[in-house]
Symmetry: C2
Subunit: 367 residues, 2 copies
């Protein structure tokens, strides 16, 4: 019996052609050649994708479920994405909508090492929602970013992440920035007593990222940020395996380029490859995700799955202090609210504004 992933694609088309189109996707995402040219019965039976169901969504689109053999993926996260959507991403009538993962695949990947509980533990917050802000703009010197980090931390915030645009640029080298920010946060922590965490953003290829994590670890940092679609899923998977003590924040950069439903990509797949926290564009901000999409994404990140820790959802992207109560009621306490630019607008009052944010989260009375 072949173990299969059940992959749902949303396909534009008409009733007359959908069966042939579904079969073509099943072939494209498995053997990628005419079946009549295959003479091996085991390949035809165990490896070729199978159309499991076709359901109309509306007049012009269908939900097509295709069973793809788990054996074609093994435990390589890059190959997972390749088999789910590699060539079919090149067809503009198809969106990768959802995947039901067999238990064997889930356990082969394993998911987060820390997840919701681990991120709570790091900052000693066991019930309330967590808070986060972002260091920016890029172009500032390492010293100035370090000062910003200190001011955020003096407001009692839980996590301070690098903006995902901060890489290893000449005007602010990774090593200089991380030293300056770690020092700034340490000064604040001594004053506040709150164990604020700084989350540097990784860049470059695997070995550069390893060196960056190594440097961060020497400075006592135990959280990092990376963008799985930029770095490659396999890069993230390798780092998660190699640094089990580090918590990983996943950034959605480039996430829209290939038409993968956000609840699947960010909620399910980022978690699967080990993201402890998943950052995503919240509804009502600068991006077009709906409340339903955000709800579904957060549900996928936090859902109970045998043997897999939940990931912490981190709604972001144009959030404001004023929306804190609304968002806490929407997501509940297992969430990390990320407010960047709106806090930075306070300029010289940054620490006070950050403190107002952390107080609002701590004091919230959930509906």
């Amino acid at each position: 019996m072949t173990t299969r992933l059940a992959v749902t694609y949303h396909v534009h088309g008409d009733a007359a052609s959908i069966e042939a189109r579904a079969q073509a996707i099943a072939v494209e995402q498995s053997v990628e050649m005419p079946l009549e040219a295959i003479d091996d019965p085991a390949v035809l039976h165990d490896i070729v994708g199978e159309v499991q169901s076709i359901e109309p969504i509306d007049d012009r689109s269908f939900a097509v479920r295709i069973g793809l053999a788990a054996a074609t993926i093994g435990n390589d996260a890059g190959q997972l994405l390749n088999m789910l959507f590699g060539n079919t991403s090149l067809h503009d009538d198809v969106v990768l909508h959802d995947v039901a993962l067999p238990a064997a695949v889930e356990s082969a990947f394993g998911g987060p090492h820390h997840g919701v509980a681990g991120l709570r533990e790091r900052v000693g917050a066991h019930r309330r929602a967590l808070t986060c802000s972002a260091l920016k703009p890029q172009g500032l010197t390492a010293e100035r970013l370090g000062v910003l980090a200190e001011r955020f931390a003096r407001g009692g915030i839980d996590y301070i992440k690098d903006d995902h645009g901060l890489a290893d640029q000449a005007y602010s080298r990774f090593a200089d920035r991380v030293r300056a920010c770690a020092a700034g946060v340490a000064r604040a922590t001594q004053a506040t007593g709150h164990p604020t965490r700084y989350v540097p953003s990784l860049s470059g290829a695997l070995n550069a990222m390893r060196r960056q994590i190594g440097l961060a670890r020497e400075l006592g940092i135990d959280c990092v940020l990376l963008a799985p679609l930029i770095a490659g899923f396999a890069t993230m998977q390798a780092l998660v395996a190699e640094f089990p003590e580090v918590a990983f924040f996943a950034h959605p950069s480039l996430g829209g380029a290939a038409r993968i439903a956000p609840p699947l990509l960010i909620g399910t797949l980022f978690r699967l490859v080990g993201a402890d926290a998943v950052i995503f564009p919240n509804f009502g901000g600068r991006f077009g995700y709906s409340p339903q999409t955000c709800r579904h994404l957060a549900d996928n990140a936090r859902s109970l799955r045998d043997g897999m820790r939940p990931s912490l959802p981190v709604p972001a992207g144009g959030m404001t202090l004023q929306r804190t109560p609304e968002l806490l009621d929407f997501y509940g306490p297992d969430v990390m609210l990320l407010i960047g630019g709106n806090l930075l607008m306070a300029r010289e009052r940054l620490t006070d504004e950050t403190a107002a944010f952390t107080r609002a989260v701590a004091a919230h009375d959930y509906r």
Copy 2:
């Protein structure tokens, strides 16, 4: 004077809102925060993206050109993609259409080490178009793939690439497959005298890919295939730098038809990060690219650029032997035609069919 990349986005919208939308993209792809919260004049002047022009395309869309500071990218290929389209990919009203790269950025990346001339040299074909086929289906044992490779090579084909679905699966480990295919091709080469090259597909993270290239090199293999959007641009960049003697074929898997214009992604950017050959879905096959798109893509791959070798375009995806003359007239001789499934359909006559393909290419009289 800030060196800037001139990035063209195609944006759906109306005349009343396009200026604000263009400005929002310029901010999103640079500092990603409200400008009024930035107090550093150098950041405002040198780092914030600038709207350079807005031109209507039709009633509902505009070409927006934005200047992004080269300093935000440095020479990191992952960061290049992050800055070109990271967050903006999450907005569904925008397509990344084109980039004009300053000479400093082109020389920082450098492009292919071998390109068109190097791929011609490897197989001793200095004028005619080159030929390629694909080993598949996945699910076959290493031994059976080795036999297939031998039969292709006995037909005198130039390059035999692994199907991009072939990874390091339990039913055909990379090491076993590469040994079997290298041996099969070597047997054929001894018989034909033609230096057919086998091009194995890499998978996993950077270190796994390095080991795979190391094994391939031990077996005398000097070409490999990888998918930059699966592996990560920085992974490809690192491998190209580390193995200058190896020729790299780039596969478009996860390339996402709708959001990054294929001539830019596959023709320009894959070349920029070092692809010697770029595989893409040809018009009239299984994918929806138009002849114009393919022409533009091939032009970008082969265009003269100071100090950068051209990449060889490899049209593929449902090609047939019958279309050989048409495609050679369309692309001219600086092309590698890739026919996979259509040759495999010949089954026991595979070598003869391959020989017919190689003869058709060698004998073609260009219009």
